[in-house]
């Protein structure tokens, strides 16, 4: 009995198919521009999360003192 992944028709896989199709519809077959912009957005999000975390920990420090 081989170790096969679940059938391709699971809800998560269907959602992924729709998501890929939407992106391809918008950007065409050259997806590099989409991925470049996602990378930029992800970096910006990570930076903002760090700033929020730092602000949060400063508040924690203040309340502790």
């Amino acid at each position: 009995m081989p170790m096969y992944r679940q059938a391709a028709s699971t809800p998560a896989e269907r959602e992924l198919t729709q998501a890929v199709r939407r992106v391809v519809e918008r950007y065409g077959s050259d997806l590099s521009e989409y991925f470049r912009r996602v990378e930029e957005a992800a970096k910006k999000n990570a930076q903002e999360t760090r700033i929020e975390d730092t602000a949060g920990s400063s508040r924690d420090d203040e309340s502790a003192t």
Binding site: Y4, S9, E15, L16, R22, R26, R37, V38
Partner: protein, 393 residues
């Protein structure tokens, strides 16, 4: 900026985690089965299998996978399986990693694929027994290669689709406008993976060309036959005859070649390969790939032509147009998976990613993964990509 949506189907969750460490044996099952059962009983959300294991007994790894994939008493869906390599995922542990519905690895993780081995028994080995063992091992390796290919083909196609924007430049550099996707893919990976794996890809390409030609030959032999209505044995007989004719044609001028000395094992391998192509799992997977990635393999001219068709006719035409490309990529990928069964192949998480064996390297946002399609969808009414990617769904 708004934070993107986080999709539980594509993110590991330690709260619903199972930790596979050390050798895989009976004690692994004794330890993990109660945890899996408890998580499945709580709800049907995804389960994350964290892996740091050098492998072990394949049968126990299969049992664990079956346990993780089991439906509930009412036949409800199994929990989605997310697998994560945290340290080492070698041998049977790498099979488990790649059998995940979504497979990730930390950047420092090491992954190892290899063929099946058999511990020597304390019994006298005769010529006949040695031949039997060799046949068993060869047949197991073939089975695992097909399993690996089925589990990872959607990852591999994603890598090809991602790199496809580089293919026009590669074709220009090589002064060959007809250079196929497979060869372009290898060129695109030259600067991304080690020479060892470039060699694996080049060998695989040489061998897959033969499988691809056989597939075309067998398809011609089956044209006009009512395959769904055909008894299994008759269907196999048509395939075997096609393989025999193909091999005979290939070696027509080679006076040294005969079926008796060279051919029968090749026929068995090729029959397995073709039968797999017609099994239900594979057919569903190829339909999914056409549906998901089909549009990205169309040329601008093909796209424009298909857009002229009524909407309900478009999916069939897309499938018809890209099926050949996907089929060639499938045989190429099977060939890569066969190569990975032949020796011990240790690879970094990034190499496993580029070879299409895992979905995501954690923390490497420069390596696109399926998750981002869900978490960064384009918005309906925006024409500027800058705005699109930042919007939550």
């Amino acid at each position: 900026m708004t934070s993107p949506r986080r999709s539980a189907d594509f993110r590991p969750d330690p709260e619903r985690g199972v930790y596979l460490t050390g050798d895989i044996d009976q004690s692994t099952l004794d330890r993990l089965t109660p945890i899996v059962l408890r998580l499945q009983n709580q709800n049907r959300s995804p389960i994350t299998l964290y892996i740091d294991s050098g492998g072990g007994i394949v049968a126990y790894a299969q049992l664990l996978h079956r346990m993780l994939n089991s439906k509930d008493q009412d036949g409800g869906d199994s929990c989605r399986l997310i697998t994560v390599a945290t340290g080492t995922a070698a041998s049977a542990a790498s099979d488990l990693l790649m059998a995940g519905d979504y497979a990730l690895a930390y950047p420092h993780a090491l992954i190892m694929c290899h063929g099946v081995s058999q511990r020597s028994r304390a019994e006298t080995l005769t010529h006949e027994k040695a031949i039997d063992i060799a046949k068993d091992l060869a047949s197991s390796n073939e089975r695992y290669a097909i399993q690996l290919a089925n589990n990872c083909i959607s990852r591999f196609i994603f890598r090809v689709a991602f790199l496809a924007s580089e293919f026009p430049d590669i074709r220009q550099q090589k002064q060959n406008p007809l250079l196929p996707h497979t060869a372009c893919f290898i060129e695109a990976l030259r600067s991304r993976i080690s020479d060892e794996y470039i060699k694996v890809l080049e060998d695989a390409l040489r061998r897959s060309t033969d499988s691809d030609a056989l597939d075309v030959f067998a398809s011609q032999a089956m044209a006009g036959l009512d395959l769904p209505q055909m008894p299994r044995v008759q269907f196999e007989s048509v395939l075997i005859k096609a393989i025999l004719d193909y091999e005979a044609g290939q070696h027509a001028t080679d006076v040294e070649w005969s079926f008796r000395t060279h051919g029968f094992e090749r026929i068995q391998d090729k029959l397995d390969l073709l039968l797999n192509k017609y099994n239900e799992h594979h057919t569903r997977m190829i339909a999914l790939l056409c549906n998901r990635w089909g549009n990205s393999f169309l040329s601008p001219e093909q796209r424009a032509e298909i857009e002229q068709l009524p909407e309900d006719e478009r999916p069939a035409r897309v499938q018809e147009t890209v099926e050949e490309i996907l089929s060639t990529l499938w045989f190429f990928f099977v060939s890569i998976c066969r190569s990975l069964q032949k020796d011990d192949y240790w690879m970094t998480a990034e190499e496993a990613y580029w070879l299409g064996l895992i979905d995501e390297v954690i923390g490497r946002i420069d390596l696109p993964c399926p998750r981002i399609f869900i978490e960064y969808p384009p918005t309906e009414n925006s024409n500027t990509p800058d705005e699109n990617v930042d919007e939550p769904s």
